[in-house]
Symmetry: C2
Subunit: 141 residues, 2 copies
């Protein structure tokens, strides 16, 4: 996403496009690594060395509230963030290297929920070994 697109995204969601928010969103949008707050902070610090951790947390919360980004609870150690309005997809976490990969997500999973429950969020998480780490462990044999 270009800066112009990022600014448009924020404006459409009624979030003022401050430089820090732009940097936070830009990192999540353009380096789709599903980063933790700490990783976002480190990335934003490169361009804005004086940015405060609190600002990064504030920006993340604002963007979540506005529905621009989404929280992933796939990693118990820390929250991870992903763009919200993408094609729905599931996530795979490699238990060796910790990387997160996008996978597909079928329609209609919410029909599994019993009547009377209102589904707001559906999250499908896988954990296991990614191809790179499989190769590595084969080499170690």
């Amino acid at each position: 996403m270009t800066d112009v697109q990022l600014i448009d995204t924020l404006r459409c969601s009624n979030v003022r496009p401050s430089v820090h928010r732009l940097a936070v969103l830009g990192y999540i949008a353009n380096f789709s690594t599903h980063p933790t707050a700490d990783e976002v902070f480190n990335a934003v610090s490169v361009d804005f060395p004086t940015v405060s951790r609190t600002t990064v947390y504030n920006s993340l919360h604002t963007l979540v509230q506005a529905g621009v980004i989404r929280e992933l609870e796939i990693d118990s150690a820390s929250m991870r963030y992903d763009l919200a309005h993408q094609l729905p997809h599931s996530h795979f976490r490699c238990t060796r290297c910790g990387k997160i990969f996008d996978m597909s997500l079928p329609d209609g999973l919410e029909n599994l929920v019993k009547p009377g429950f209102v589904v707001q969020v559906t999250d499908l998480y896988f954990a296991g070994i990614c191809p790179d780490c499989t190769v590595l462990s084969d080499q170690n044999k």
Copy 2:
């Protein structure tokens, strides 16, 4: 589960059935509230007022390692625990009251993962409003 069944479960998994481990497993097995470590600690403290928080954490880790219980990362605030060897099922968290409910889980979800990835764990989480909380919010209108 009776105490005898709990002891058998532990013995079969090569985990010594100490009283604290029994109490931890018994609470998870018999009050299927998907409790946090803190909730387990409070429950165990009723029968064993001198138990230490560390012992509860140790027991939980031991039981997870042994495959007797399972970690649920459905709640970013704290880890939750569930019996492991049950019929596979998904989980629904009510965002109002925080309660966790069991839902069904279809077979074959791991086929969504791209070739080359080895799936070890599949977790399907829903979040939304449970029937009780829906009724409550209707009354408040």
